[in-house]
Amino acid sequence: MKILAVCGMGFGSSMMLKMTIEKILKEKGITADVETADFTTASSIFADIIFTNEEFAKQLEGGRVKVVSVKNIADANEVRAGLESVLNT
């Protein structure tokens, strides 16, 4: 499984989001690749799940990839709930 954390430049908030996602994956015992990307290149990178903010989520939705929008990128509960929601669909 490949997860992409997306933000404006691909190294600030997406890196923080990646840390939160990795924490949850570890907690749940799930193995996945987590990478960061900036918004402009995100749509050309293959991924199973994209985590990003509300703004970018709206623009990235609609394709084959599952998009999770996150309000607080460091909130483990929010990221956990987001991950569970896409894994159960």
């Binding site: 404006g8 190294f11 908030s13 890196m15 703004e55 607080n72």
Partner: protein
């Protein structure tokens, strides 16, 4: 690792800003004053928001303006600005706290990001930031160890 993420000269409280751009500029000017970035970096912070939208809202009420290392970072560091009254990127995208980030590359700034994440992952510490009355409280939040 004993490096301090935040120094007291990089904190401004009770700041009045007329709009988001003004607030981001104040936050960036601190990084210029503390020798972390060139003035070009501040322009890049603002330009990025114009181009990419309010993606720097990292938690409800908290913005983390930043640009790329090549936009003029001299040294890594952060600045913290707490506004008197919140401003908005657009309706529904308000913020009262700004954490200005100067990062050199994706490997070495992970410690700083980790620290910011530790602070904003708890709602009560966002409230403490928003309501801080002295810089000591903010220094404490960023420099305290997570148990």
């Amino acid at each position: 690792m004993n490096r301090r993420v935040l120094e007291k000269q990089a904190i401004l409280l009770d700041v009045t800003a007329k709009d988001w751009e003004h607030a981001v500029r104040i936050c960036g000017e601190i990084l210029v004053k503390t020798g972390k970035v060139d003035p070009t970096y501040v322009d890049a912070m603002i330009r990025n928001i114009h181009e990419l939208g309010p993606y720097i809202l990292i938690a409800p009420g908290v913005a983390m303006p930043h640009a790329r290392p090549e936009d003029g970072v001299i040294q890594e560091g952060i600045s913290v600005v707490v506004l008197k009254e919140e401003v908005a990127f657009k309706p529904g995208k308000e913020f009262k706290v700004l954490i200005g980030l100067a990062a050199l590359n994706s490997e070495s700034h992970i410690d700083i990001l980790q620290k910011i994440a530790e602070v904003i992952c708890k709602e009560d510490s966002i409230e403490r930031l928003e309501n801080a009355t002295g810089y000591e409280e903010i220094l404490h939040l960023f420099n305290e160890k997570e148990e």
